[in-house]
Structures are given as C-alpha cells and as structure tokens.
C-alpha cells in the first residue's frame, strides 16, 4: 500500500480528536500485532486492528473511513487486556465510530431492520447494538 506522509496529516485535527476522545496516547503502539492476533472479529475485517492504530498515528483518516473495521469491533476488550503497551484499543475504536455517529450518521438503520428480527432480539442486543452503531 502506497502511503503519503505529511506533517500536516501527522498533526491534523483528526489525530488530536482521536487522542482526546479515546484518552489514549496513540504513539505508544509499536505494532506488535497482539491485538489483531486475538481479535475475534479479525477474520471479517478488511484492515486489522494494529493497522488501524498505524493509520491513526499517521492521520490517514480516509483509509479508516473506507474500512468496515471499526463497525465490526464488538468492544469485547480482548485487545485492551492484552496490549503490552497499555493502549486501550477499544477506546480508539469507539472514538473512530463517534467521529461518524456524531455527524448524525447511523451505521445501522433501525427503521430498516426486518420487524421480525427486532421482535426476536432481546433488549440486551438491541440497546447495545444501537448504542454502538447508531447516532
């Protein structure tokens, strides 16, 4: 993958926002890949969690926006408890989702879900799903 680096991107508002929303020092990540190795959703992701961390560090916002990864994260916190650098990756993923959700964009449209699915799902699924995937 060809990546263009610039000081403008490295110091962009995007990087600052993610650091602020997640409360994490993004530069602690040294790309060991332990998060991706243990991620239960990794098999379905187009960009792996450690790669997301690198893209965030470099300010490559569009690459993350074009990926499904943050929407597949189930906030299971396996990466969080295993990160040798103490990065809470689940908070970085949440911050990335919020950048979209806070623009009033839903990832899942509740009104478009089949009524029989909604009727069948327990509250624990609906409330947590809508909290994570809708604005």
């Amino acid at each position: 993958m060809r990546v263009e680096l610039s000081s403008k991107r490295l110091r962009s508002d995007f990087v600052k926002k993610i650091a602020e929303l997640s409360g994490q020092n993004l530069y602690l990540c040294y790309q060991c890949g332990k998060c991706s190795a243990g991620c239960p959703m990794g098999f379905a992701m187009d960009i792996l969690p450690n790669q997301i961390m690198r893209l965030v560090q470099l300010g490559l916002e569009e690459d993350i926006a074009n990926s499904k990864t943050v929407w597949l994260c189930a906030s299971c916190l396996t990466c969080t408890v295993r990160c040798p650098r103490g990065v809470d990756l689940s908070r970085v993923m949440e911050a990335l989702r919020l950048l979209t959700l806070r623009k009033n964009k839903n990832y899942v449209e509740p009104s478009k879900m089949p009524p029989e699915t909604v009727a069948d799902l327990p509250q624990i699924a609906l409330v947590s799903g809508f909290r994570k995937l809708t604005s």
Partner: protein, 292 residues
C-alpha cells in the same frame, strides 16, 4: 441473608428463566435476592469515550437507588449489567472531575461518590457462600454431565472489573464441580460471541458461535454453562443455522449456571423455565434423565 438485587431489562422479558432459577437457587442457599423497588436500564454498554458522561447517568442512578435502600452492595445476574454498573461506579469513585460533572447534572439526586459495590452472583457464590456449602446443598449431583464454563467478555474484561483471572478463569468450572458435574476446560471460554453485532450481521455471529461450539465439542463437552443473556441468545439462535466449518460440529445446549444449580439442588423444575431454552436443550436434558 438479604442482598440487594438489580435484574436489568432482559431478565424481565427474554431471560426470565435466568432470574427464576437464580432466585430459587439462592433461596435454597438461604440468601434472598431482594429486587430494588425502583430501577432503570443500566445503559447496557459502558461508554468508552472520555467526554461521554451522559451515558454513565443511567448506571449511576441505579447505584443511588441501592444506597437509598441503606445497602452498599448490589448483585447482578446479567453479565452486561454487572460490567456497566461496576465500571460506572469506578468513574464515580476514581475520577473527581467526571464525578463532579455527573453529580451536578443529576441535581435531583443526592451526590454519589462510588460507595456501592457491584457484585456478580458468581462472586457471591464463591466469596460469600463458598463451594463447600453449595456442594452440601446438592441433592442430585450433575454426575456424568460434561460441561464447559463459557464466560464471554463482560465478566472478565477490563482487568479492573474482572471477577476472576482474565485469561484463565475457573469460577464457572469450580461451581460446576461443586454441583457434582464434570467441568471441561476449553480454549474458547473467554472468547467473544460477537455480542451486539447480531443486530446487523447474523453471519458473523454464526461464524463465532460455530467456532465456540466446535471447540467445546472437541474438548469433550456436551453443554455450556453461561451467565450472559446475549451469549445465550446468540448461541441458541445461530445453532440452527450453524455453518459447520468442520464436519461434526454438534448442536449444543447452553444453560444458565443458575438452571444447573436449581437442577442439582432438586428444586421444582418450573423455576428452571426450560421452555425458554432451545428444543435441543430440552431433548438433551430428557435424554440425561434430568427432566421428563
């Protein structure tokens, strides 16, 4: 002994069997779980953004309701509720700035400083009751039943709220052993089932549950003991559609650990609510001679 009890939404609707079996099993151990007279949804998931304090309010209100009862401890059965209440309490205890903002916002409530401890029922069983006392109450040992303890995520992660070892928990296996069963270890015990992704992506959940069930079967288990209503739902609902990646992945019953307690204690089967489990679960119980 009376303990303040927070049920949460799903236990009142889609996981009634979890609640009825727990109340009866605890009563048999001399503990009354006394439901809070007033409570609201905990918010289900803990907010992970630094500036998102509003979503802690629902959880904190419940903790204030506990304090109003003159109690400093509340018990949950639902693993999600446990996590959300416990983590919200840590915010109120350890983050003075956030505590101040939340207390000011809830001007109709008394100020709260994180005084209420949230305990999961499994912790009460291990720490307050003890495995020996539980073993002593068993009338029908779950002998010849090979069961895995499936923990999922929210009882163990993050570390600050873990009820047991984050990577190698034994609390569910210890309970199963106390009930006279054979506790089987399996490598997927703490793996996520996909959780709320079920609202959007049933295929992904199916891949996950197939892997979990396949691993449990490979380890020689016949059933899973669970404590999370979302794990239970995902495991049950995807079994009929399980795409079997390896041949021979069986359909496997998932039961709440409290249902297994009620069975072992020889309680009235009505408290187990097995009609809410899968038909395959009932068939397995029948085959084992545990229900007629």
């Amino acid at each position: 002994m009376d303990l303040a009890y927070y049920p949460g939404c799903t236990l009142k609707t889609r996981a009634k069997n979890f609640e009825t079996s727990a109340l009866a099993a605890m009563s048999a151990l001399g503990i009354n779980l006394v439901e809070l007279p007033r409570w609201n949804c905990c918010g289900t998931v803990y907010s992970l953004a630094e500036d998102d304090l509003i979503h802690h309010v629902a959880a904190v209100r419940n903790l204030i309701r506990v304090k109003e009862q003159g109690k400093n401890k509340v018990v949950t059965l639902c693993a999600f509720c446990y996590n959300t209440l416990k983590r919200a309490n840590l915010v109120m205890k350890d983050s003075p700035d956030k505590r101040y903002a939340i207390n000011i916002f809830m001007d109709e409530e008394p100020d709260y400083y994180g005084e209420v401890e949230t305990a999961h029922l499994l912790q009460v069983l291990r720490d307050d009751v003890g495995w020996e006392k539980i073993a002593g109450r068993v009338k029908h040992p779950l002998k010849d039943l090979k069961i895995v303890g499936y923990y999922g995520c929210t009882l163990l992660r993050p570390q600050s709220v873990a009820i047991d070892s984050v990577e190698r928990p034994t609390i569910l296996q210890d309970l199963l052993k106390a009930l006279g069963g054979t506790a089987v270890d399996f490598p997927f015990a703490t793996e996520c089932c996909g959780a709320f992704q079920i609202v959007n992506n049933r295929d992904i959940i199916t891949e996950r549950t197939a892997a979990i069930l396949g691993s449990a079967a490979k380890s020689g288990a016949e059933a899973l003991a669970v404590s999370c209503p979302l794990c239970e739902y995902n495991l049950r609902q995807t079994q009929s559609s399980t795409k079997q990646p390896q041949s021979g992945v069986p359909v496997m019953p998932a039961l709440y650990f409290t249902q297994l307690m009620a069975l072992a204690f020889g309680l009235d089967l009505a408290v187990c609510g097995f009609e809410e489990n899968s038909p395959e679960t009932r068939a397995w119980l029948k085959n084992k001679g545990l229900i007629s």
